[in-house]
Amino acid sequence: MTLGFGLLHLSLAWLLAPHSSRVTTLSPHAVDFAIIAIYFAMVIGIGVYLKKYTKSGKDFFLAGREMTAWVAGLSFVSANLGALELMGWAGSAYQYGILAAHWYWMGAIPAMLFLAIVMMPFYYISKTHSVPGYLQLRYGQATSGLSAVCFAVMTLLMSGVDMFAMALVMKVMLGWNLNFSIWVSSITVGVYVTLGGLFSAIFNEVVQFFLIWFGALLIPILGLVEAGGWSGLVARIHQNFPQQDFTHLWRGLGHFTDNPMGIHWTGIVFGLGMTLSFGYWTTDFLVIQRVIAAKDIRAAKMAPVIGSFFKMAVPFIVILPGLLALSLLPYHLVPQSAVGSAPGLHSYNEVLPLMLARYCGPGLLGLGVTALIAGFMSGMAGNVSAFSTVWTYDLYRAFIRKGAPDSHYLSMGRWCTMTGVVLSIGAAYLVMQFASIMDYVQALFSFFIAPLFGTVLLGMLWKRITGWGAFWGLLAGTVSSVSMFTLVKLNPRTLALVALSTHAKAMAENMYRALWSWVLCVVVTVAVSYVTQPQPVESLQGLVYGQTELPSEGHLPLWQRPIFWAGVALLVFLFLQWVFW
């Protein structure tokens, strides 16, 4: 996942290390394999069932635009809940404590609510198929094409990275053959998405959402019982690590050196909270596609709001296991680099397998492993279905074959899905050969997403922004991000320029790089727009604030209004910041 950039690398470094003899290998029984097999049968079965309802491009690419707010909202969150994210953030929680929860709260909730209330109406009313589709309507083909090409390439590469990483997880944890994991899981995803399109992807993502929760929830429940509740957990952590503060969100963020993450609160608020997370949650088509498929504008606005409540709860199954490991494990976990220094050491990244093995016997273990597989598949299905839509509508239809019948694009979408799976498998094997590629693939994705947020947001809110302004702004923001990344790689001392401190660590660098690239994108977009011809106002109807009449919600009772629930979500978010301050 984009926001996990830096962290995924951490997990992969662990997975790639030659440590199979000392890692926590789980011992599944026949009943666990039965549970995993039933899961595969179910997801394929859903795809087969939904094929008969997938008769047009609208069905295949937009799930008929008939998803309810709940289905779209759960799918929206599920597409983001990857297996490596679960494992990686659990490890980060052990390493950084509750600071890791910023990626689920500050790094998600404001952006999701902003998407719901401010941006979603424009995506929905414009009746676009995709984010590049919106850019095409608003700015023309140059910006749309740039965005579509970047998204398509990055999505396939990310899909390959995720696939390879998941196969490694299965190999390390269960001893499964790498090729078997890659082919079986990706062909399964390919089959059900090809059959039922976005219908199938969304249905399975909602099923996967339930399995992830029911598979992972038992660890924090039993862990809290063992620790003696939250107060017992905090007391044990203080006892085990008397010099460190693992249970406060904001107290240690006054200076780069006061917290284990090496980050300042400005990086969390402005870099993560206001740039990177807004870029991801409001412009990454992988998640936006789930909301565009909603049945009406109220459902489209409610879906991210519903998703935000569940996103706020995810730390319960991801961050809490890390804190429980700090509290309950009779030994300390160590950085990956220290694992080989003495026998019997375990790395941070083994938190989830360790806790799974601690509490889950036969049956429950199968459910836990199924949760990880479901997390992987939901992420991959999201990648593949989004790739298929962007290729078919924003590249193939826009640049290669215009005006073909709907059936042609439907057929292209199906072929493209399978092709996307095959290319992802190719990317997985490429990553297997050249592991260092992974760093750059994730970095490339993050280069693009922050400036894109500037481009989309300005386009929605300001009619004076022109197509050329958007194009040059997006290009400048992306190139500047690449340049900063390269500069720091070549000369680490320039980190002080990018991240404002020589003490800043990788995560802080990412936050500030995103912030500067967004600022540059906005400045260039505005400057170029002012020296180019404004777009005719009539061409902006339904696309820009002030030129779009939004349906009034005044006649709805309060509890049916998205703005009301967004307010409730915001209060819960603020309450969590206060409780864990």
Partner: protein, 97 residues
């Protein structure tokens, strides 16, 4: 290319300016009777719940080497899964129209 938004009709919203072609709330009946996703969730939760519950029963006489095995988590967790699954199946089962 995507269709340009039309500004000529309105359903469910107020306002006196140009009208828009999207629904605030779409309550039109669906043209087909697709099983809701909740039914599939019910199916898989019930199946898993039964399997895990019976595994828990077996583990009473053959306890696994896990922490807090004395709480018999598979029995109540499996039971909970089965109960939620059965409820979802009952609520969202296919019906004749």
């Amino acid at each position: 290319m995507d269709e340009k938004p039309k500004m000529n009709k309105q359903r469910g919203g107020g306002g006196s300016g140009p009208k828009i072609a999207v629904d605030l709330i779409d309550e039109r009946p669906r043209k087909h009777h697709m099983l809701p996703v909740w039914f599939f969730i019910g199916l898989i939760l019930l199946t898993y719940g039964i399997i895990i519950f019976w595994t828990g029963i077996y583990e009473i006489s053959h306890p696994p080497a896990t922490v807090l095995a004395n709480l018999h988590a598979p029995i109540w967790w499996g039971g909970l899964l089965a109960l939620i699954g059965a409820l979802y199946i009952l609520m969202y089962r296919p019906r004749r129209h």
